[in-house]
């Protein structure tokens, strides 16, 4: 029996046994669901909403990996930069965080261009671990620079709207929305909607524009792309900028419900690695779906695991995926 088929049989029988066991204990499960039902539903809702932002971060990371072939350890640190830009804009000038996306995205795009040109590009032919170390050095540099400027004090912003009746375009919505026992806050819903819109925009750029075609061609085959007249160096540059622009947007979206300190982006960086491996390195749809799955996983982990931290569940999933599906859940095993 081929290995692939055998694995499928094992999974099938495991599921069957699970179903039988579940059927035999149906009463107990119903009781448990009644007890935990609301918690589970809330975890699912929060997981999907926050997962969308994780998707956005991971899409940037996977784009950079797919085209430039580097594991970017500075992705999270760049996101922290975006968070501080959003914070300062709000704190000093009263700029709405959702409006400041219009500033953080171009700002991070520009920072990405500079970083790529000065640090990544000169090492384009270096071994993979050296490129990884470069981004690591960059992350250390950025984080500690922010630590010197802003100190380690966690900072947050508080919006003066989003509770009670709020006008959203032509509609008036009563926040937080209560749905089937769950609570949906304006902050998280807005993050979800904006993240999804931006994901669609990114997808459109990659699929429908000439630039996107050139990026995809470069990701598939560098030499082939340069043979048909694509300036690979320029595509590398722009792709890195686009990847960091993604964390710029994500940074503005999370600030209304998260604290920022100089190391706040680390968690996102780690989670994004997990998502990228889960979705298949270099796959944009994989990153989108993977983000939602990881978002769900980390919220569910809090319900099931006796751990005060969300990350443990994510790491368990990560190691399992690394072992059993290193090309991602949706990747082909080539």
């Amino acid at each position: 029996m081929p290995k692939e088929t055998r694995t499928r049989y094992i999974i099938f029988f495991a599921l069957l046994i699970l179903l039988v066991v579940a059927g035999l204990n149906w009463g107990a499960i119903q009781e448990w669901m009644a007890l935990k039902g609301v918690v589970l539903r809330q975890a699912a809702v929060t997981g999907i909403l926050v997962g969308s932002v994780l998707s956005l971060v991971a899409m940037g990371l996977t784009l950079i990996f797919g085209v430039l072939d580097i594991i970017n350890f500075a992705h999270g640190a760049l996101m922290t930069v975006g968070m501080y830009i959003t914070f300062v804009l709000f704190d000093r000038y009263g700029v709405d965080p959702y409006l400041s996306i219009l500033i953080t995205v171009p700002a991070l795009f520009g920072i990405g261009l500079v970083v790529q040109r000065l640090i990544i590009h000169p090492a384009r032919n270096a071994p993979a671990h050296n490129q990884l170390l470069l981004t690591l050095g960059l992350a250390i540099l950025i984080e500690n620079f922010l630590l010197i400027i802003f100190t380690g004090t966690p900072r947050s912003i508080r919006l003066d709207y989003g509770r009670g009746l709020t006008a959203v375009g032509p509609l008036t919505i009563d926040f937080p929305i209560r749905l089937a026992g769950t609570t949906i806050t304006m902050n998280k819903l807005a993050a979800f909607v904006f993240a999804m819109v931006l994901a669609v925009v990114l997808f459109y750029i990659l699929q429908r524009t000439d630039l996107g075609k050139a990026i995809r061609a470069t990701a598939q085959d560098k030499e082939g792309a340069s043979l048909v007249g694509i300036n690979v160096d320029r595509i590398n540059l722009i792709t890195f900028g686009l990847g960091t622009a993604c964390v710029g947007a994500a940074a503005s979206l999370v600030l209304p419900f998260l604290f920022v300190d100089p190391f706040a982006g680390n968690t996102f960086n780690i989670t994004a690695f997990v998502i990228v491996v889960l979705g298949g390195m270099g796959s944009i749809p994989g990153a989108l779906l993977g983000g939602l799955i990881v978002g769900l996983t980390q919220e569910m982990a809090v319900v099931f695991l006796p751990s005060s931290t969300k990350l443990l569940g994510v790491f368990i999933v990560f190691v399992l995926v690394l072992f059993f599906r290193p090309d991602g859940l949706f990747g082909s095993k080539s």
Partner: protein, 339 residues
């Protein structure tokens, strides 16, 4: 001739370096601050040497050495606090524990064929999982951490030197010389040749009959055990350990920083990296504590030394990819060509 080949020159260099380091405080009396800088230098040299066996020789780039370090740190501390066991014994238990952890995780990762960036991310995940789990464990006092009980006077068996901190220097000197000795032994042994063959080209090595799984896992186990010794020593010196000190990312980064700056895959690279970076870091830290007047704004700010390390790391990778040792070798070769 055969005698000389059996005794490569590295043994003589090691003997000379060990003698020089042992005599150093006798010739130049060190202040308390200088002793602690010297202790940290040798301690990072030990950890860098341990990392180098796995990351440098075998080419298995670890981003999670904090896992082994932390296991060593906690093993000796728990045994000392609960069973009053000498940290030297605890150190060996920790080394065994880290070795077993390295064996299990190494075997699993290599068995499932994780290579390159995937392997690196897996080592990182293991260290982070240990950190997250250890914040939940009651018997190591969760995230609050453990203190080494206070003692009085100097004791070699308890590895506590309250009156003569210089003894810490000699203790870590012994450990570091031991670590480098292990590294030299491996480098001049079949194992070392196999590991370098694996690093250069895994498929070619396998086709020549090198058992990849066995030798890569062996490298991880040795590297893990040596790192655990460093972990145990750290707690005895620092007197305190908590999950992020033991298993945090910053430990993993600091461990790999020195061999890379010094020159990885070489016997003396980690030591040279430690001698270069550690005093630099300590000097920066004390500079920030009392900066000159025009820089008053950075007084007491943390992060300056770390930021400097980030810049050095970037510059080294861009301009000296084989580290200080590689750059020195290239320059001496060029001079030889000229003359």
């Amino acid at each position: 001739m055969t005698m000389l080949r059996r005794f490569p020159k590295d043994y003589f260099i090691l003997a000379a370096v060990a003698a020089a380091l042992a005599l150093l405080p006798l010739v130049f009396p060190l202040s308390e601050f200088q002793v602690s800088v010297a202790v940290f230098t040798l301690y990072w040299a030990l950890l860098g040497t341990a990392w180098n066996i796995m990351g440098g020789y075998a080419g298995q780039f670890s981003f999670g050495h904090a896992a082994y370090f932390g296991l060593g740190a906690y093993a000796s501390t728990v045994l000392l606090i609960n069973y009053d066991l000498s940290p030297w014994i605890g150190m060996l238990v920790g080394a065994g524990l880290a070795g077993v952890f390295g064996l299990v995780t190494g075997f699993l990762t290599f068995r499932y064929g994780l290579k390159g960036p995937y392997f690196t991310l897996a080592t990182f995940a293991f260290a982070e999982m240990l950190r997250l789990v250890s914040t939940e464990l009651e018997f190591i006092n969760t995230s609050i951490g453990l203190h080494i009980p206070l003692t009085e006077g100097d004791s070699w068996s308890a590895l506590q030197f309250n009156e003569t901190p210089l003894f810490f220097y000699y203790a870590i000197l012994i450990l570091m010389v031991g670590g480098i000795l292990v590294n030299i032994l491996i480098a001049n042994n079949k194992l070392g040749y196999y590991l370098q063959a694996i690093r250069e080209d895994e498929d070619a090595a396998a086709s020549l009959g090198v058992n990849l799984l066995r030798y890569k896992t062996t490298a991880v186990v040795i590297s893990a055990a040596l790192s655990a010794l460093g972990g145990s020593f750290f707690v005895q010196f620092f007197r305190f350990i908590d999950p992020s000190l033991a298993f945090g990312v910053s430990i993993s980064i600091e461990i790999l920083l020195r061999p890379i700056v010094g020159g990885m895959g070489t016997i003396w690279g980690p030591f040279i990296g430690a001698v270069f970076l550690t005093p630099l870091g300590e000097a920066t830290r004390s500079f920030v504590r009392t900066p000159p007047e025009f820089l008053n704004s950075i007084e007491g700010r943390s992060g300056v030394d770390e930021m400097l390390f980030g810049i050095i790391l970037i510059l080294v990778i861009l301009y000296m990819p084989d580290g200080i040792l590689g750059a020195v070798q290239r320059i001496t070769q060029r001079i030889k060509k000229l003359s």
